[in-house]
Assembly symmetry: C2
Homo-oligomer: 228 residues x 2
Amino acid sequence: MKHIAIVEDEVLMREELSDLLRKAGYRVDGISEFQDVTSRLLALSPDLILLDLNLPGINGFQLCRELKQKSSVPVLVLTSRDELHDELHALQLGADEYLTKPCRKERLLSRIANVLKRFEGRANLLEGNGYLLDRKTYTLYIHNSSVILPKNQGKLLEVFLTHKNEIVPKETLCHAVWGTAEFIDENALQVNLTRLKKTMSELNMNQQIVPVRGSGYKLVISLFTERG
Amino acid sequence: MKHIAIVEDEVLMREELSDLLRKAGYRVDGISEFQDVTSRLLALSPDLILLDLNLPGINGFQLCRELKQKSSVPVLVLTSRDELHDELHALQLGADEYLTKPCRKERLLSRIANVLKRFEGRANLLEGNGYLLDRKTYTLYIHNSSVILPKNQGKLLEVFLTHKNEIVPKETLCHAVWGTAEFIDENALQVNLTRLKKTMSELNMNQQIVPVRGSGYKLVISLFTERG
DNA sequence: AGAATACTTACATCTGCTGAAAGCGCAAAA
DNA sequence: TTTTGCGCTTTCAGCAGATGTAAGTATTCT
């Protein structure tokens, strides 16, 4: 049974949605507490998130972006904001569908089914800048083709993709590759990073791993492949 | 550059759409002749099909269904039919998006980009009975997970999936695995087939490779994993 | 310049895929 | 029931690619 999380502050609306979805055969969780929403939602690991944009205290767009950055869960935005630029913005941030209230029940259910179907089998795909990474096999989809990354390189890239725009400390990377945080072999990490960088440049990926002295590494977008 | 095919009978509308899409950086083909549309469209092998439902002589829904059955090309329906049941029907038949005319340019472009993004990397995916096979890396997607098949097993499965419901002669299989048709080592083939069968059963795939005495092999659906 | 940090290269080891070989099992024909 | 041939299984050695080690080079900051 598929599992849907509802993010909606108005109690009545939330109840109505819950009912509708339960009757349609989904397992439903409603979120009513909006502190730490992102982590709370991801902890539920639903098959789909139904998201209202007007929430108390937090920015719905921001939430959408965070969800998409930290996971690959499908997000369906259901909101009363019917401005085109809101729709475009949400889609830009990674929303998978955008519907405006009021919305016919049938349409909502149909679009939900549509989105769920789209994501079948894609559960483990992590999104990069113009490419996708399978978290299980480390198959990388880029430029309409695909390559398998060696395990270590895959694990490293995975960490970077789950920490976009953050500085990732070496310990985190070591932990991701070798499991335990016991002994950190900086050199082994170094070698593996070099290898990842090499394959990334060979694949013309427009992202680069750059060192941050003393702290760790960061994945940044690089418009130019070679330094002049 | 992504390639879009437009199926629309009104000349003015078609021209306008073409212009818009070209300016947005797509390569565009307009279809104005509606005999044999399906095969004609698939011959173009576009990255996306923009489909009107009201066409002279043919049924738009039927066309949509055919396209989806014979290929995995994304279809965006753009129509003046604004009845909910039309939308539901189209989505049911496999349409990937449904927009009604009149439609804001920005929305159309945004949704097109959205659909294209969804299909990124899916170009090389071959469809099996409840699973997907990447023809390049031989990554197999099944049961919401993924595995990498060894090259030979992947090649063999690929042949079977491109010859559904046909008896595949050994030569074909050998040719697929070792390239040349020079010398056929029946035993090597045998071993590799056994290996593929083993992984398929370990993965609980509901398809089985069965021998056809003297001719070759065939991939059949098996409802039951073990023979009683 | 000197120290600290970051990178490169080469090599030995290890894992897992592959084909060869040899022998077993089963189904159709005698 | 026996024979015959085709299909299947298992084992083993070879090979390729991924990994960690080690030693040496380059860069950056002070």
